[in-house]
């Protein structure tokens, strides 16, 4: 039995529908978006980035984008994780604190500086740091940066993750997870919008 395609499920694409036929023309992309999801959420090796941490970061990242079927899916995934479910309330509270509008941030000093746009520099609230622990605190802060102000990323941000106990391999998978969700959210939103416009 093949696993249900997560993008089709979240976008509400039924077998045999017009968009099902269109998606079938990019079969390799469809299958590998699914494999990306599985590699990130059902990995063969989670030693550098635990499943509980993945669930917490995913709920945070998708929640920052506002309410959607994707955000609801990852919130449920967090609630279903025995180790991470206790974090659901803290993640929800941090989503509320972190929501804003992007992209913003600064360009390298020079002609592009006139396009610099200031915005929230998110930090986890001090009252929730103990519950989340230093690894997740650093992860949520970097995830917020990648979601809203990716052009602000600097080598110092890598040092903060390393100092919080992240390995180089963990940082790569973590960056992939935040970046992949940025893709998945948009494909689902775009396909839903297209389906509604064709109804």
């Amino acid at each position: 039995m093949p696993t249900e395609d997560i993008i089709d499920t979240l976008a509400g694409i039924e077998p045999g529908s017009a968009l099902d036929v269109v998606r079938a023309r990019r079969l390799q992309a469809r299958e590998n978006a699914q494999k990306s999801y599985l590699a990130l959420f059902e990995p063969i090796d989670a030693s550098d980035f635990s499943l509980a941490e993945r669930a917490a970061v995913a709920a945070f990242v998708t929640g920052l984008h506002g309410e959607s079927p994707v955000a609801a899916f990852y919130r449920e995934k967090l609630a279903a994780n025995a180790e991470a479910a206790r974090l659901a309330e803290a993640i929800d509270a941090e989503i509320a604190r972190g929501r804003t509008s992007g992209p913003y941030g600064a360009f390298p000093a020079g002609p592009l500086s006139i396009e610099n746009k200031a915005g929230l520099i998110y930090r986890v609230s001090s009252e929730r740091k103990a519950a989340l622990g230093p690894r997740l605190v650093a992860a949520l802060e970097h995830a917020h940066l990648l979601v809203f102000r990716p052009r602000d990323a600097a080598s110092a941000d890598m040092k903060a993750l390393l100092a919080a106990g992240w390995s180089a391999t963990g940082i790569v998978t973590f960056s992939q997870l935040v970046a992949f969700l940025s893709f998945q959210l948009r494909v689902v939103s775009g396909l839903r919008t297209l389906a509604a416009a064709s109804a």
Binding site: R23, G66, P103, L146, R151, V187
Partner: protein
């Protein structure tokens, strides 16, 4: 680490990219890693030897990327897919990604000056249709919260795109929200 000379403008020139964390040394690559690289020649690239620290994700990401952009058996021409990638990168602020995909957009469209105007003036540059509709849709998809709506679909249709071509725009622009964040998270461009 080598000296970094970061570009301060968007450009179609070839740029280097410098990682902030250590790629895997080539001698440590196993068959699992080579499977993740997809293309063995990528073992020479610091960027891919960094991403191959998670081989399964890299492999799936690479195959997603290749089909979205290189499968031109039908659907949107390659030039407009690359335009969506370049516009997304321009808007998010990934100077490296924008340089690569602006070059591709120029190569496939033969409209180098229009592509340069996108880089110089930004995503508001008037490039005519259907390019304006593709750039606007890419910008709306890049926003957080996502701002892509019925107006974007209507504009793309008025510009002559059918639904399969609109899905190519959605895939291409969405994929660059992945690519931009990955590159910006892990390193920086260098001239």
């Amino acid at each position: 680490m080598s000296t970094v000379n970061p570009p301060v403008v968007f450009t179609q020139d070839e740029l280097g990219w410098v990682s902030w964390i250590d790629p895997l040394p080539e001698v440590e690559l196993t068959e699992r890693h080579y499977a993740g690289l997809v293309d063995r020649a990528r073992a020479k690239s610091d960027y891919f030897r960094l991403l191959v620290r998670d081989p399964e994700v890299l492999e799936a990401r690479t195959k997603t990327d290749k089909d979205i952009f290189y499968n031109v058996a039908d659907g949107l021409p390659r030039a407009e897919r690359e335009l969506a990638a370049a516009a997304t990168s321009r808007h998010n602020g990934c100077i490296y990604c924008a340089s690569v995909h602006a070059r591709f957009a120029s190569t496939y469209s033969k409209r180098r000056e229009d592509v340069q105007r996108l880089l110089d003036e930004g995503v508001g540059a008037d490039l005519g249709e259907p390019w304006n509709a593709v750039v606007k849709a890419s910008v709306a998809l890049a926003a957080t919260p996502i701002a892509f709506g019925h107006d974007n679909i209507a504009e793309l249709r008025r510009a002559g795109l059918d639904d399969a071509e609109i899905v190519d725009v959605i895939n291409g622009a969405s994929f660059f929200n992945w690519a931009n964040r990955l590159m910006l998270s892990l390193g920086e461009p260098s001239k």
